[in-house]
């Protein structure tokens, strides 16, 4: 059996990579992919604890997280397409209409 510490460490590393991706990149699509990485890091932690606790609840929760991720991607990509139509860019620092 894989020690839970290994899985949690992997999950933490994956989450940090996602955070860095959101902070460093300007392309809204790549930022979206980084958010997916973070969601998957959380899923990995859920599965690891489900294995540790010998319970299926964590896995069911991962199932729901995947559903929410699919919905989020569909709506988010539609928003990005809309922003691209209006502003001709997907770079988040050029989408600054709300800047005071």
């Amino acid at each position: 059996m894989i020690p839970i510490g290994w899985t949690l460490a992997l999950s933490a590393v994956l989450f940090c990579i996602g955070v860095v991706g959101v902070l460093v990149r300007r392309n809204a699509l790549v930022i979206f992919m980084s958010i997916e990485l973070m969601l998957n890091a959380a899923n990995l932690a859920f599965v690891a604890f489900a294995r540790q606790m010998n319970s299926l609840d964590g896995q069911v929760f991962v199932f729901f997280v995947m559903t929410v991720a699919a919905a989020e991607v569909a709506v988010g990509l539609a928003i990005i397409v809309n922003v691209f139509r209006l502003r001709e860019t997907v770079f988040v620092d050029e989408i600054n209409l709300l800047k005071g």
Partner: protein
């Protein structure tokens, strides 16, 4: 055998995830993300979550990433232009925040968790993982499961309304 596979999939996962955020071309990033989802599915298999491993490949690597690739193709994106002092500063801050977060995570993992009820290796379930998950999903989690369908419907309607072309309002009135 299993720890070796875990390390292999883990290294592949971290390497491809790093490539996702480093590569300039969004299409290449998306394809690396597919690879990292597949290695994550391998890790799920090792953690005895066979159903989730398959769903990971079908839903994430299949459906969600195809959506990403279609949008990238539709927008006809060029390579990112990432120059200038402001962007360099922001990139430095981003990596620093990530490193701090990683340090924090390492501290948390290193402290050791209260292990909880560590049950000995579970007796081999008589039914498969998918059957067991289905039993839980359709009994204890039935209500959230139904709510999920409403959520998906709302997302579908929202995506269609948002992505609908508004350039020719006269056409829709005529129709």
């Amino acid at each position: 055998m299993v720890p070796g596979l875990f390390v292999g999939f883990g290294v592949l996962l971290v390497a491809t995830a790093v490539m996702v955020i480093l590569h300039r071309n969004p299409v290449t990033s998306a394809l690396f993300l597919v690879l990292s989802f597949c290695s994550l599915a391998g890790i799920y298999l090792l953690l005895q979550a066979e159903f989730l491993g398959m769903v990971q490949i079908i839903v994430y690597a299949g459906a969600i990433m195809v959506l990403f690739l279609f949008v990238i193709m539709y927008l006809n994106l060029q390579h990112d232009v990432e120059t200038g002092a402001q962007i360099a500063v922001r990139r430095g801050i981003g990596w620093m925040v990530g490193a701090l977060l990683l340090l924090f995570g390492a501290l948390l993992v290193h402290r050791g968790w209260a292990p909880g009820p560590v049950t000995p290796a579970p007796a081999e379930p008589a039914v498969g993982n998918a059957v067991a998950i289905g039993r839980v999903l359709y009994s204890r989690f039935l209500f959230p499961f139904e709510i999920t369908s409403v959520l998906l419907l709302v997302a579908m309607v929202g995506a269609i309304v948002l992505a609908k072309s508004r350039t020719a309002p006269n056409d829709s009135e005529a129709a």
